[in-house]
């Protein structure tokens, strides 16, 4: 499993050459959400569960941004490395195994999530929304979110014949979760059946945890959410490795 870090290092070497361009997106993304949702929309919205709207959405948005980063990296990014650049094939000609390759890619996606979340957290702090040191725990949470969605994205990549198929992933998976996982409104306000369905969305558990941590509530109530995320991340990582193996090693 150790060789997964070599795959991570390769992606880091590549990222180092172009990092300025990608950092711009990492900074602009949260700023745009804050301005539009928090200050724009938020001006018309009553406080939710006793919190001003911006403060209510900030931790969930952080989880959502973490999801987006990994989902993007392990679809478009991984697919480009696999199909256009033949990087995966080159790596498989070395002692690195396909499972290590998959894990390295997923770890890289999660690292991009961590980076995006770190910048997001800095903006939370800069806008006076910092509550307590527990806010720092949003960072490992973002990494876990990155592992989960990176793994899901890599599964999709392993099944995709072309870039066009990522549209489905972003519309059916990423957008649905972004809108219905409780970032912008409590899922309890949905009809019963819909809030039950929301429980099935992985991001719901991450948003729950993020919001609790942001409110300073570190309790055992978070354990089921944490286990849910860890289990899903492990399952999808395993599945991603098997699907890649099926596609690449014939």
């Amino acid at each position: 499993m150790l060789a997964a870090r070599r795959v991570w290092q390769r992606n880091f070497e590549s990222w180092k050459r172009f990092y300025r361009a990608s950092l711009v997106g990492n900074v602009l993304d949260p700023v745009l959400y804050f301005v539009a949702m928090g200050y724009g929309l938020g001006a018309f919205v009553r406080p939710i569960q006793g919190e001003p709207y911006l403060s209510f959405i900030a931790p969930g948005l952080l989880a959502g941004v973490a999801m987006n980063s990994a989902a993007f990296e392990n679809t478009i990014g991984s697919f480009t490395r696999m199909e256009e650049q033949k990087t995966f094939k080159s790596i498989l000609m070395t002692p690195v195994s396909i499972t290590e390759l998959a894990l390295g890619e997923i770890l890289w996606g999660a690292s991009k999530s961590l980076l995006a979340a770190t910048i997001f957290l800095a903006i939370i702090a800069a806008t006076g929304l910092w509550h307590s040191p527990l806010d720092l725990l949003l960072l490992p949470l973002a990494f876990l979110v990155g592992l989960l969605f990176g793994a899901m994205a890599l599964c999709w990549t392993a099944l995709s014949p072309s870039y066009d198929f990522f549209n489905y992933f972003f519309t059916l998976v990423v957008s649905v979760m972004f809108l219905f996982s409780g970032i912008f409104f409590p899922v309890e306000s949905l009809p019963d059946w819909a809030s039950a369905a929301a429980w099935l969305l992985p991001l719901t558990h991450a948003v729950d945890m993020a919001r609790a941590l942001h409110r300073g509530e570190l309790t055992s109530a978070l354990v089921p959410d944490l286990l849910w995320l860890l289990t899903a991340a492990a399952l999808f990582s395993w599945l991603a490795a098997r699907l890649l193996e099926r596609r690449l090693v014939r």
Binding site: S14, K86, S90, M93
Partner: protein
Amino acid sequence: MGSQAGSRRPFPFASPLSFRREHEPINARETAAPPIQARGLLKSFGGIPVVRGIDFDVLHGECLGLLGPNGAGKTTTLHMIACYVRMDAGQLLVFDMDPRRAPREIKRRLGVVPQEDSLDPDLTVERNLTVYAAYFDIPRAQAEERAAQLLRFVQLEDRAREPIRHLSGGMRRRLSLARALISNPKLLLLDEPTTGLDPQARHLVWQKLRGLRQGGVTMLLTTHYMEEAAQLCDRVLVLDRGEVIARGTPADLVRDHVGREVIEIHSAPELSPELVTRLEELADRVERSGDTIHLYFRDGRSPAAALPLLERLDFSQRKATLEDVFLRLTGRELRD
């Protein structure tokens, strides 16, 4: 073959690269058995058989060529050895290990130059080598030193910091070769190493490969260039439709399958039937394809007797080559 390799001339270039790890104790088991032993390899893709029962060994220090038209199963065979394609049936031992059980141990000892360009476009020339070295767990300092040596070897030392897109096709192929050598491989797999290169670039790659062979590196290469096989290979397997249809040294293949001399007559339609009959008596074999007639002469017969009959015709006389063998064995119709 193994002991012979050691007595070959040293490297013909200034920086001696230790392709044979002389300071390491050589594993007795590895030196005893041929690096590759393949028996009855079978592989189908989607129900279509691609490799149909191939047997061969690659011996220590030799260069074996897999020669064949497109679709002959060359690349699939090479990929089985590289643990990238799983065989359906047969026995394959690479350094006495089964690719299904010990892919990591096998791949640690291999250097692969793939057919398609798979250099990393996000990295510089030098980083392509050092990042690849990291996949083999080679420490950074050692990787950098070795990358510098290899860049000199493939004559790219002044390109070290440039992006890959600045390199020509020939340079890329040389860099792919350097990349495959970064881990001091005991066995080099080359998949059509010069396809698509211009003659200058091709000859430079050949020169480098001959240097490696003289240094004792064991090689398996696929090619559909006869001249490449003749230049580089100790032995050749001719593959067609997934089967071995001939094997031997390039010289033996030419002698056994075609003979010594060839006359090509380029204006076949002008030949009278009587003349063709007469030529058939003089040559060992006469073959007609399109507007060209080939006359083949073995050791016993001389083309000299035919020459007076060919005055005023457009013809050429030459030595028989592997290309004649190849066309003789695989036919002249297009493959693709």
